[in-house]
Amino acid sequence: MRGLTKEYVLQRFLMYLLTIWLGSTLIFVIPRLAPGDPVSEMVGRLSLDAGYIENADKLIASWKARFGLDAPIHVQYFRYWGNVFRLNFGYSLSHFPTEAWSMVSRALPWSLGLLTVATVLSFSIGVTVGSLMGWRRTPRWLQMILPSSLAFTAIPYFMFGIMLIYLVAFELDWLPATGAYSRRVDPGWNLPFIKNMLSHAILPVVSIVLTSMGGWALGMRGLMISVNNEDYFLLAQVKGLSPARIFFRYGVRNAILPALTALALGLGGLISGSILVEFIFAYPGTGYTLYQAIISQDYTVTQAIANLIILVTATSVFLLDLLYPFIDPRITYKRTMR
């Protein structure tokens, strides 16, 4: 059997549900395990800011009732799940009467765009660089140059972003520092807007790509070196195949499989990192919205975004999983023919 089997899809789907459940439950449970509760905490912070709040007890009680926090914990938990399923998180507290969901959906396209472009670029560049680094026949001059692309590997995206803002946006004034587009252009499908939008996206994308591609490159290099030592790689040479064919069909083709697994596993980290990048660049995606919701203590939007990010990440991993058997015929294999 090749391709997708019912068993495999089912197994991956259960995994998908488990991931969402685990993430959402963590968000629900841990704050409640901690001493204090979110409402008292919020009111406490408010009173710190304002100096003193009248009737703090009453306020806490009414807020608790409003969020349903006075109900027993398992009732809260089921209600919470109902909301997650219906993607219904209630109204935004800071932007009443906007619904939390509508704020989130406004932010989502920006993040998806930014992250998709950055991930595709960094993965494909990284894999190319790594494959060449791990191949014995790569020309020597290329072997000398390639490691330089690892220069920024260890640096977190956002730190690199801060330095890019300082150098490229402020000192050189080449590109805009923050935001997704300028006030002066009309959002829509027109050339000035698209150009403006792209110029805003360059720095965030570059800071993610330059810092993350080295990781893929290093991983791919190791995988290529392993493949280099495989018997089938040797046989391909003995067959008199052209170096290009050996490189692509026997080298990269085999080494990329574990790299794709690593991509699926690394997606969460990538998304975590991009939250900070959005914060630094004030890029109006989910990460930045999450940050704003937190500083304005917008409890509902925070919940909505966190759950959404978990959902999107899990979905991407699920889709990658479904793609995998088409690239690696061994995945769904069960029986051996004699």
Binding site: L22, A34, L234, K239, L290, I310
Partner: protein, 659 residues
């Protein structure tokens, strides 16, 4: 091979023994040490700093506002790194912040590692349901974007100190180590020494800590350093967002205060840059440690970089010394191997894997090349095929097919000769087929690399070839993992005859198969050979199998040919003492068994003794054997041997020399 027998590492894989000597211990990895040094320096800065600088200056109002560092205009000597908008001294802040950032990282990663080791070893050891649950949990936990959850948690729970933060970060530090330990335990469990320990009644904990842990150490260390930097990154992320502890100075908090106070726009570089630099140095340090440890854990990567370095250091490879065409007298030779020398350039010296090997294969014959493992027979095969793997190299000699020396060919010319004139039936058919491409494609690319034919013809050719080796047609669309070992080996045989080559090298073609399948595969090989009249070099250590298949036999010992003879006379009347030993060790010719030689190599391949290569194990050793190397000389009809015993003049020879 008998258990407990001393055997040298197979000469084709000299990397295995590296690192046994303390002077090139793998832990002396440059990247690892550099990284560790960097991290120690940063740690020192944080630990020793308070003794040299007044850390009370780190609090609001300790000095004037927004002063640049001392070297810039307007800088004050009492605030060498300047002050920020609250009048806090930058140097004092950095000294206080650095160790707290490191502490969070270490604490979280160590807790995560502890959980990971416990869960991972349970999953790997106990297996079954436990394994399933733990694996599923860690697989899904690893994909959750940690920072999102952390941010939400941090927005509810005011984190008062770094320990609380470390505990929360540890929630995301366990899946990585768990996955690692589980897979390591599963791999190591199959190793013989672990099995032995198990059989001898050691407890699971004992096996885990005594047998497995030392072997996992580099992996665990790499995972730990990676985990520390991930935890520092998570903590810093929260601090930068202003969600960390706000009363304790931390590097992320400084960045948060700088960015929220628009330090970038206001040009207060000394406010936001120093914490970033310190963090970057920390991350680079841990990163270097991690990749250094990866190299330590994975010898292949180490070997790859070292052969690269060596090649660059040595410059271009010296040209292989040409050999005078001395053996042209041999008529009807399909393949001539002429004075072949292959050396492995290991860090601990040059291993001589083939030393002046000379033989030819006549048209339509099967020549058996035998010897115990490590004798260099596989090296010779690889050298004939021009695929000696670095750090090995052909340093001298020629390999001729139809008067053409393959050693001197390269690039296109070599590719053209490959497979069309010289094919291979590989040793491990299990791993010699590309696991992710169907058989059709793997057979097709061999043909298409040399011939231009249409699709229909190609398809027919492949089907005919499969038919020739007795495989059903549907195999063409199957993947290697869908075939049994014997079928895979037959696919390899079909592939080898695709272009009707002059010579086929069969490298222990039946070694990994069970006895019944062995017979089928050997039979297939013989049939193919009979039908095509192809010449073959059959490499093996199985004397019994050789006796049944080959026409002539060449015996190799420690990189040297010691005897070449027709198979009948080699078995009826073996001349070389080593050949005699090999034949004695076969219980019965009908019963095929691997070589059961009582003793392995007795000399160091890097430093062969003068005189006969077999002298330490030979019963008939004489004085001349220790002083002069015997040459391969024809002593009987078509029977060559390299041994002084058959030189009647040997006594006078040595006396002559003394005179």
């Amino acid at each position: 091979m008998a258990v407990g027998q001393r055997t040298p590492d197979d000469a084709s894989a000299p990397a295995q023994g590296w690192g046994l000597n303390t002077w090139d211990s793998p832990w002396l990895n440059f990247k690892f040490l550099l990284g560790a040094g960097i991290v120690l320096l940063i740690l020192l800065f944080g630990l020793v700093g308070p003794f040299f600088w007044d850390t009370d200056l780190a609090y609001t109002g300790a000095g004037p506002l927004n002063k640049p560092p001392v070297w810039a205009e307007g800088g004050l000597p009492e605030h060498p790194l300047g002050t920020e908008s609250n009048g806090r001294d930058m140097l004092a802040q950095l000294i206080l912040a650095t160790p707290s950032s490191l502490k969070v990282g270490f604490l979280a990663a160590i807790i995560g590692m502890g959980i990971g080791m416990a869960l991972g070893s349970v999953a790997g050891y106990v297996g079954g349901w436990w394994d399933h649950v733990i694996r599923t949990l860690s697989d899904s936990a690893v994909t959750i974007p940690a920072l999102v959850v952390l941010v939400v948690i941090a927005s509810y729970v005011q984190m008062t100190d770094t320990t609380a933060m470390a505990l929360i970060l540890a929630l995301f530090a366990w899946p990585g180590p768990t996955r690692l330990v589980r897979s390591q335990v599963l791999t190591l469990r199959e190793r013989s020494y672990v099995r032995m320990a198990h059989l001898s009644g050691a407890s699971a904990l004992e096996i885990m800590f005594v047998e497995m842990l030392p072997n996992m150490l580099p992996w665990l260390a790499a995972s730990l350093t990676g985990g520390i930097s991930a935890a520092i990154l998570g903590a810093t992320g929260l601090e930068v967002l202003g969600l960390g502890p706000t009363r304790v100075p931390s590097l992320g908090l400084i960045i948060n205060q700088a960015t929220t106070n628009a330090a970038l726009v206001r040009g207060l570089v000394w406010w936001w840059l120093p914490p970033i630099i310190i963090l970057m140095v920390i991350f680079v340090g841990f990163f270097l440690m991690t990749i250094g440890l990866d190299e330590i854990a994975n010898p292949r990567i180490r070997q790859f970089s070292s052969t690269r370095r060596e090649r660059t250091a040595a410059g271009e490879l010296p040209p292989v010394e040409p050999v005078e065409d001395g053996t042209a007298g041999e008529e009807e030779a399909a393949l001539e191997v002429d004075d072949l020398h292959v050396h492995y350039f290991t860090p601990r010296g040059e291993v001589i894997a083939a030393n002046g090997v000379n033989f030819s294969v006549r048209k339509g014959e099967i020549l058996g090349l035998v010897g115990e493992s490590g004798c260099g027979k596989t090296t010779v095969a690889m050298a004939i095929l021009q695929v000696v793997q670095p750090p090995g190299r052909i340093v001298q000699g020629a390999v001729r097919i139809e008067e053409r020396d393959l050693v001197s060919l390269s690039g296109r010319d070599l590719r053209r000769v490959r497979w069309r004139d010289l094919a291979l039936v590989p040793q491990g058919a299990m791993n010699s087929l590309n696991p992710v491409t169907p058989i059709r494609e793997q057979m097709a690319d061999a043909i298409l690399a040399h011939e231009n034919i249409g699709r229909a013809e190609l398809e027919q050719r492949i089907l005919n070839l499969l038919n020739d080796v007795g495989l059903p047609e549907r195999v063409i669309d199957m993947f290697p993992h869908e075939l049994s070992g014997g079928m895979k080996q037959r696919v390899c045989i079909a592939m080898s005859i695709a272009l009707n080559p002059q010579v086929i090298i069969a490298d222990e073609p039946t070694s990994a198969l069970d006895v019944v399948v062995q017979r089928v595969v050997a039979q297939t090989l013989l049939e193919v050979k009979e039908r095509l009249g192809v010449s073959m070099v059959m490499i093996g250590h199985d004397m019994g199998l050789q006796a049944q298949l080959v026409d002539r036999i060449a015996v190799m010992y420690a990189g040297n040919l010691v005897e070449v003879a027709p198979v009948e006379s080699a078995f009826a009347e073996p001349l070389h003492p080593y050949t005699q030993l090999l034949i004695e060790s076969i219980p019965s010719i009908r019963e095929r068994k691997p070589l059961n030689v009582t003793e392995g190599l007795t000399h160091d391949l890097r430093d062969p003794p003068p005189g006969c290569i077999f002298q330490f194990r030979c019963k008939h050793v004489e004085r001349i054997c220790r002083e002069r190397r015997p040459e391969l000389v024809e002593r009987d009809d078509d029977h060559l041997v390299a041994c002084w015993l058959y030189e009647p003049e040997r006594h006078s020879l040595i006396e002559l020399e003394e005179a």
